[in-house]
């Protein structure tokens, strides 16, 4: 029973309880970093790392945190982790840290993180909290990568920066859709994913 509950914390956020398409959280960053696949992937890893560690730390502290300042304590922990991720990226993966620029800092404001800390880590032991963090980070990441895949393919004709649309398509009048690069198309892509997801999961339909 206990094991399956832990496992649920890990697996549920991937589809049935996905933070982006079911809870509709973290939409702002989903549109900001998904013009290309690589930043989307790094963002996924960064958010997953921050979320998993923040969940564990808050879960360890959960019995000591004074109720009146619990949101502030959560914020301090998240902010510290985000600064560390930012510094590590600057030192070890400068190119990507340049591409993500301010969005790393904005992980602090990602609603998924505060949401999971408040809803899960404050009431659960560290191990399930860790799994919940990984699960939600990946659930967020799946959507990011799917959106980035379509936006990069249709908007720039590339995947991970490599040209995949052959030159003769362009010679015959094919054009990259500049609209895909712009933020609104991220929301429309997310909406399409939600549409497909809901139509396959009848119990999620309101």
């Amino acid at each position: 029973m206990n094991i399956s509950k832990d496992l649920q914390a890990l697996i549920n956020p991937l589809s049935k309880d996905n933070p982006v398409i079911v809870q509709v959280l973290g939409i702002c960053s989903a549109l900001a970093v998904t013009a290309k696949l690589e930043p989307a992937l790094v963002m996924t890893i960064s958010v997953t790392a921050v979320l998993a560690f923040a969940n564990v730390i808050i879960s360890l502290l959960r019995n000591t945190i004074p109720t009146s300042i619990r949101i502030i304590v959560q914020l301090v922990v998240v902010a510290a982790l985000v600064v560390i991720v930012d510094q590590v990226l600057k030192a070890w993966n400068y190119e990507v840290s340049k591409a993500l620029s301010v969005f790393i800092g904005l992980i602090i404001t990602n609603c998924i993180i505060m949401g999971r800390l408040e809803a899960f880590a404050m009431t659960n032991r560290p191990w399930p909290a860790f799994l919940d963090g990984i699960g939600n980070g990946l659930g967020y990441g799946i959507i990011l990568v799917i959106v980035a895949f379509f936006r990069e393919l249709l908007g720039s004709g590339t995947l991970f920066g490599c040209q995949v649309i052959p030159q003769w398509w362009y010679d015959h009048g094919y054009q990259n859709n500049g609209m895909m690069i712009l933020p609104p198309m991220a929301l429309i892509t997310v909406a399409c994913i939600i549409w497909v997801h809901r139509s396959r999961n009848k119990d999620l339909q309101e």
């Binding site: 013009a35 290309k36 000591t64 004074p66 300042i69 510094q87 030192a91 620029s101 908007g155 690069i181």
Partner: protein, 240 residues
Amino acid sequence: MNRQSNTYTIIYASVLVLVVGVVLSVVYQALRPKQIENIDNDTKRQILAAARITPSEGHSIADLYAEHIKSSYIVDMAGKKTDSGVDPFKVNIGLESKKEASERLLPVFECTTDNGMKYIVPVYGAGLWGPIWGYVAFDDNGDTIYGAYFAHQGETPGLGAEIEKPAFSSQFDGKNIFSPDGAFESVAVVKKGQEPEGRPYVHAISGGTITSQGVQKMLSSSLEPYTNFFKSLNADNKDK
């Protein structure tokens, strides 16, 4: 102890902030040298990119830079080398570009390439959302652009951000920034169909009008102070 009391709350907050502060400063101190090295290498990569030198796989940029950039110095408006003791590599171009042209420190990087000596100068200006900057390499006659590299902080991806692509910057190759009678005229960045008569121009990015205009302004304001330096290069080298 009562976990809801004010004393507990204040002590808890203070201890937490102290611990977090210590952790962050340790991380910062530990990673700082590596970060500075990255930033320097990135600048070196940009300088070399202007002279059309791109590092091959597994080749360190620092080595490549040391191999090609043999000398760098700072000149003044009159085109004379100054002896300010400032490392040209460390000059903050953003700050310099805000000063009066006569007070600016004007760095020059001499780059040996397979096509002879090139003179690379930095440029800095404003795009639509934030700063844009770059490096422009000149032939040793001091008036023809050999190559250009542009970068930006946050221009719109797919539109203004295209200035960093070779498709845009390679248009500058071979442009002469002086008119036949020797006056500085820079390079215009214009829409297709609006090409100016008798003046060097490149095509702007469609949808990136403000950024393109920013590039045009940046080039004229950043290159003009070098006029005398370029002319002295021309005088030194035209007989060769």
